[in-house]
Symmetry: C2
Subunit: 148 residues, 2 copies
């Protein structure tokens, strides 16, 4: 039976800015995109690597697939995080607070925004994206409060 070794190297997350774009809003968006994009990249790469391990055969095509999947997931995860960080920052500035309302609203706006970027944005997908985004952000905030 193939054995998978779970070995991921992730930098400790802290709030330093990787590249100063001269604007705190852009810095947040860029940081979210790059840092979480890296996690998505690692996830896509590890899933495809595991597939290769199970198959026990590797050819050029499967390696190409690994790179494609890693890149795609990196961009998708980065987009979600960058959008959320940017929206959350904007709402914090606008409302002057950061509580569960900004969290819920940021998640909803992120979900709606990402649904709008799809090739054929449909009205109902945007609403469903908003509902799901808000719910996920709220659930994450609850879990954070439980585990901190």
């Amino acid at each position: 039976m193939p054995q998978a070794h779970f070995d991921a190297t992730v930098e400790s997350p802290h709030l330093d800015v990787l590249v100063d774009l001269g604007n705190p809003f852009l810095n947040r968006v860029f940081d979210g995109f790059v840092k979480v994009g890296g996690v998505g990249l690692a996830h896509g790469a590890s899933l495809e690597s595991y597939k290769l391990l199970v198959k026990e055969e590797t050819n050029e095509k499967s390696l190409e697939k690994l790179v494609h999947r890693a890149a795609k997931e990196g961009i998708q995860w980065g987009l979600v995080a960058g959008t959320y960080s940017g929206v959350n920052y904007g709402l914090q500035q606008a409302l002057g607070e950061n509580n569960w309302k900004t969290t819920l609203l940021s998640g909803a706006l992120t979900g709606a925004t990402l649904a709008l970027t799809e090739p054929n944005p449909r009205h109902d997908r945007v609403v469903r994206g908003a509902l799901t985004g808000g719910a996920i952000a709220t659930a994450a905030a609850v879990v954070r409060n439980l585990t901190d």
Copy 2:
């Protein structure tokens, strides 16, 4: 065009214990299950309600579906959060710290555990669950550091 009104009532998340089960570990698991289960319930209910709004017809069967979906999502979201809270609490106690390593490991263990509870747990699904769980938990920790 049907209009959807986004109106969710969510309690402000804070770390009080709903029911004291006499054991901090059980309290965490129960709290995670109940609180995030409520978010999942609201999500399932709102998605099905939106479907009803779009369809503009409601019968007994569609209302039944709403209740089923809400209950199902409530349990699923609650299971994820309860498992994560419990695993995270255990790891914090065992390792004496709560940093990105406990986050990554808690996510991986939660993903693996939930994959094992499926009707026919397959070896590869458990590994993929662990990889995805760890990645999501890590990404959430990165986003938390960016937005706090």
